[in-house]
């Protein structure tokens, strides 16, 4: 019995040795993902809503704004995140953030998630029944009131699911920025696991990331179910 336990302890010894590193990496990953989801999510909401309302036949049609937004989104969204993270270094420096480390990683994640979420938000808003928006207009609601009090609330369920979907991609980004010294579980797996040939460290980091994603997915689904009342 104790032989098995001893064996297990030996097997996980590298992880146990890195206990405090794991705790702080976990915190860093949450911070990175959180800033992507909150700040990038907010920007994405703004971009997506702008994309939706400026469409032809939308609430506030504007061909020029619509064109510019689409070009921007179509330009940034397909760039593989690792390249975007590297390419954004001059931008980070320009706004007074170090081109390496957590600060820059936050900038890159916000940037990447904002455009990605923007498209998701736009797609979710398209699913709102235009008749409902028209009803609000007929009741004398201003464009802004329609957006804030009808469009977004009516799309809330799908939006929550969209953000949940985006959350997985953002956690992915937090691992990628490990390569540019952002900290987090990705960097820990890379420097202490992969480079030290400690598979158990790598896999422990992987399992923790999976748990984070699962928890987020569960919370998102539960919230969406509550909002959609089914």
């Amino acid at each position: 019995m104790s032989a098995i336990l001893d064996g297990l302890r030996d097997f996980f010894q590298p992880v146990i040795d890195l206990q405090s590193e794991f705790v702080s990496a976990f915190g860093e990953t949450l911070f990175l993902a959180g800033s992507g989801l909150v700040v990038g999510g907010f920007l994405g909401l703004v971009i997506g809503t702008a994309l939706y309302v400026t469409r032809a036949g939308g609430i506030a049609p504007n061909a020029f704004a619509s064109f510019v937004l689409n070009v921007l989104v179509n330009f940034f969204r397909p760039i593989p995140f690792i390249l975007l993270a590297v390419a954004l270094q001059p931008f980070s420096r320009a706004i007074g953030v170090d081109g390496i480390g957590t600060g820059h990683a936050v900038v890159a994640i916000i940037f990447g998630s904002a455009f990605g979420i923007g498209r998701i938000v736009e797609q979710n808003l398209v699913s709102v029944d235009p008749g409902v928006l028209e009803a609000a207009r007929a009741m004398g609601a201003s464009r802004w009131q329609v957006i804030r009090t009808v469009l977004l609330p009516e799309a809330l369920g799908p939006l929550i699911l969209g953000f949940t979907f985006a959350m997985v991609a953002i956690v992915d980004m937090t691992a990628v920025v490990g390569t540019i010294g952002a900290g987090g579980l990705g960097q820990l797996a890379l420097t202490e696991g992969y480079r030290q040939y400690e598979s158990v460290v790598t896999w422990t980091a992987v399992v923790i990331v999976i748990l984070i994603v699962q928890a987020g997915q569960f919370a998102g689904n539960a919230l969406a179910r509550k909002v959609l009342r089914r």
């Binding site: 029944d129 007929a138 009741m139 004398g140 009131q145 609330p153 909002v227």
Partner: protein
């Protein structure tokens, strides 16, 4: 006094693509609606009914002409001032268009929120309206928990929340079964009589306008082809489109295939008589026929009641001596409008 005044209104939509044609949805329509009236607008799909209705609350802008609502020329009003005007015009829809994210209460309160009324004021007004439409106990339900008729009643309560003087109804009963339709129409009538709201109803169902409209406007290809009191339209439709519509619920002269069937069973002389309450009475007509010793049988048609006034078309089979029948047909033809359908073999063509 006219509460809605449309003067030579046209609405043209730009072509959908570069090579397409612009769509003239509404063309040169003039219409004046008196305060307190219920006006029914009928027409086939694509006739421009919805577009015309949407011009009244400027959801659609008239490309030409003038739109005056309650004395205000809204044709070139700025967006912000328009929102004020829209609060005095309620609108209900075929698909109800309730906010799925809000309860019944939240739906009805919405126009009041938009208008910036206080919470207490909202609560009072919403309860009052939910009682009016008979849905007080459903205040906390969500739209998906309601039947179609209940949804439309919520739609009506919501449209009335801000205390409008005009209600626009776009096919408001077209998604409902006949029984529920009657309920909703009764409610619309109460809105008109008890609250004094002017109602504009769009429909392709003649039964609807027959039940509630004081006046009927018939549209075809963007224009008004005929308008008149409900009684006039139903008892004496003039335009071909109007006749087709009226025929959907009123039997007048039997159509070709109906006539064939009638002839099979009724070899005698067939005539269709049109009665109107203020014209010659039936008793006069029938007395005339009986006095001539002619046998008669009622074979087709019926009497209708539109807003308390009756009219109808009765097709009779007259049997007897040919000369006597001829004579009586001539005399009756002087009393009421008469369509002579002749007899089966080589009868008089109509």
């Amino acid at each position: 006094m006219a509460i809605i005044e449309l003067e030579n209104v046209s609405v043209t939509f730009p072509p959908r693509n570069r090579r397409g044609e612009p769509v003239n949805a509404v063309q040169d329509v003039s219409l004046s609606v008196k305060a307190g009236e219920i006006v029914g607008i009928v027409g086939y799909s694509g006739a421009g009914k919805s577009t015309l209705l949407r011009v009244v609350n400027a959801l659609e802008r008239a490309t030409e002409g003038r739109v005056v609502v309650d004395g205000v020329d809204i044709t070139r009003l700025r967006e912000r001032d328009l929102n004020e005007v829209r609060r005095t015009i309620g609108m209900i829809f075929q698909q109800f268009n309730l906010f799925t994210s809000r309860t019944v209460y939240g739906n009805v309160a919405y126009p009041l929120e938009v208008a910036g009324r206080s919470k207490t004021e909202q609560r009072e007004r919403v309860s009052e309206l939910l009682r009016f439409v008979g849905l007080f106990d459903k205040a906390l339900a969500y739209p998906e928990q309601l039947s179609g008729g209940q949804k439309q009643r919520v739609g009506i309560a919501r449209a009335l929340a801000a205390g409008p003087s005009i209600l626009l109804a776009d096919e408001a009963t077209s998604a409902l079964d006949p029984e529920t339709t009657v309920e909703v129409l009764d409610l619309l009538k109460r809105v008109n009589t008890e609250l004094g709201v002017t109602v504009l109803v769009i429909t392709h169902e003649m039964e609807v306008v027959k039940t509630i409209a004081d006046r009927i406007v018939v549209m075809e290809e963007g224009g008004i082809v005929e308008s008149g009191s409900a009684f006039e339209i139903f008892s004496a439709p003039r335009h071909a489109a109007t006749r087709r519509f009226v025929r959907t619920i009123v039997d007048d002269v039997p159509q070709e295939h109906e006539l064939e069937q009638l002839r099979r069973r009724h070899p005698g002389r067939l005539v269709t008589l049109s009665f109107k309450e203020d014209a010659a009475t039936q008793s006069q007509v029938f007395a005339e026929i009986v006095r001539a010793g002619i046998e008669l049988e009622l074979v087709y048609g019926g009497l209708e009641d539109v807003r308390g006034r009756s009219f109808g078309h009765l097709t009779l089979e007259l049997r007897g001596d040919t000369a006597a029948v001829d004579a009586v047909v001539a005399r009756v033809g002087e009393l009421v409008p008469l369509t002579d359908l002749g007899t089966g073999e080589g009868g008089v063509a109509r």
